[in-house]
Point group: C2
């Protein structure tokens, strides 16, 4: 793999700018991760979220059709599409019903349906994912795990507050290291079936409380925990985890990085800053 990276900056809704970049680079694969990706923020900005995530996907598909017709497009979707999950449906297979509960989740249902239609119609090879929670060093503190890690690192350095503000800690979610998720995307572009959607997940649920406890242990500090109403969602499924058998069947992917290493690396990312 070449380490050479060239950057092109464009609005994901700007089909012509995307086509120009694609025509210059002539890629074999396009990893489409451009989105308004904060579910919580989408409640305040539904139109912007849907326009960016849906019309942005259409613009990219049209640009590929025009300038990179041979490329495989990986559409990075989200486990949020499953919405409020009935525990009887666990582990979630790709055939589970979609009941999106946020504009973000609805936008991902919409964009996934359109992306897969392009594949079904024979316009573009497209492999879609429903990626469950993932984190790692570099993720924005607008997401839960880096938010915890940043607050804890601040307290450990003596500069931050001695209180950790959190959302719903009883929620249990299926976490994978972002570096494993990237490897899944790489393998799916090479060996995934065009026109199909794959869960990308660990297959296990961990509570947000456990993640907080692990981070505090990694940092060697003890903090008061305070629930922040702004971090709570109107509707929140108690437990969500996925079935990764489709991606494991079609590729050789298995997540490699244990959660405690992920949390250690996220913590160090902020402790180093």
């Amino acid at each position: 793999m070449s380490r050479r990276v060239r950057w092109h900056r464009a609005d994901i809704r700007d089909r012509n700018a995307l086509a120009a970049a694609l025509a210059e680079e002539r890629p074999d694969a396009v990893f489409h991760l451009a989105a308004q990706s904060l579910a919580a923020a989408s409640f305040d900005r539904p139109e912007e979220t849907i326009e960016t995530n849906v019309m942005g996907t259409v613009a990219l598909l049209e640009a590929c059709h025009a300038a990179a017709a041979g490329a495989v497009v990986l559409f990075a979707g989200s486990s949020e599409v499953y919405g409020t999950v009935d525990p009887a449906e666990l582990p979630l297979k790709e055939s589970a019903p979609l009941r999106p509960h946020s504009p973000y989740a609805a936008s991902k249902v919409a964009a996934e349906a359109i992306a897969l239609q392009y594949a079904r119609t024979g316009w573009q090879r497209v492999v879609a994912t429903r990626s469950f929670n993932h984190t790692g060093p570099g993720q924005s503190p607008a997401f839960a795990v880096p938010s915890f890690a940043k607050q804890i690192a601040g307290a450990a350095s003596g500069e931050g507050a001695r209180v950790l503000k959190v959302g719903n800690l009883s929620a249990q979610r299926d976490f994978t290291d972002v570096r494993d998720v990237v490897e899944a995307y790489r393998q799916l572009v090479a060996r995934g079936a065009s026109g199909r959607v794959y869960n990308v997940c660990s297959g296990r649920a961990v509570s947000m409380r456990q993640i907080v406890d692990d981070l505090l242990k990694i940092a060697g500090v003890d903090l008061a925990i305070e629930e922040d109403a702004t971090k709570l969602r109107p509707v929140d499924a108690p437990i969500i985890y996925g079935d990764a058998s489709a991606v494991q069947r079609d590729t050789s992917w298995q997540p490699q990085i244990p959660l405690v290493r992920t949390l250690t690396d996220v913590y160090r990312w902020f402790a180093r800053m």
Copy 2:
């Protein structure tokens, strides 16, 4: 019911114009049928179709949220969302998999998901339909049945060609009279469950060839039949029909108008012109 109708003209993507009209009328119900609704045309105009049908739905929902928060919105969707149907899945229930095959169908999957999310989030009462084929007097000849009727009426008058141009006549579809469909929408707004989607259909399939034969018999003419490649779709399911038990359970709706009367009325619409 008042017979008074006031018209407001606006682009469905223009949230402010929609909100102004809604603020003036203060409706209890909004029937959302604005769309680029020709599946065949959507292959040539995917972006326009998706923008109109998806962002138009978002604009209308946002306008309702702002100016008609108490109104029930009926989202008129399409059986096209089911896509290429496996005969083993017939009759199609609402839980059947969605495999849209046209940009139009993908746009309806997308808009339906977003509309139902608005209901699920508690932002607006929304009842969605997946309406199967329907026709009646007044439908544009861009659709199959009026196209047949118009050509046959032209030939019967001695002015039109003696050749009937058709698409795939072996396709079997589930047809309901548009006046029955309107009655279903009226009943669903009153008694449908917010956040759910209902098939609106007859539960029976009829071949397009049968429809042509019936129209020729109604007209009392005999024409040569010629397949027109521009009327064929890239992918076309051989047979599609729906299960209407959900709408029948939640309302007292049953289709009343037999197909032969529908076809007679469509034929007369053009014969009178």
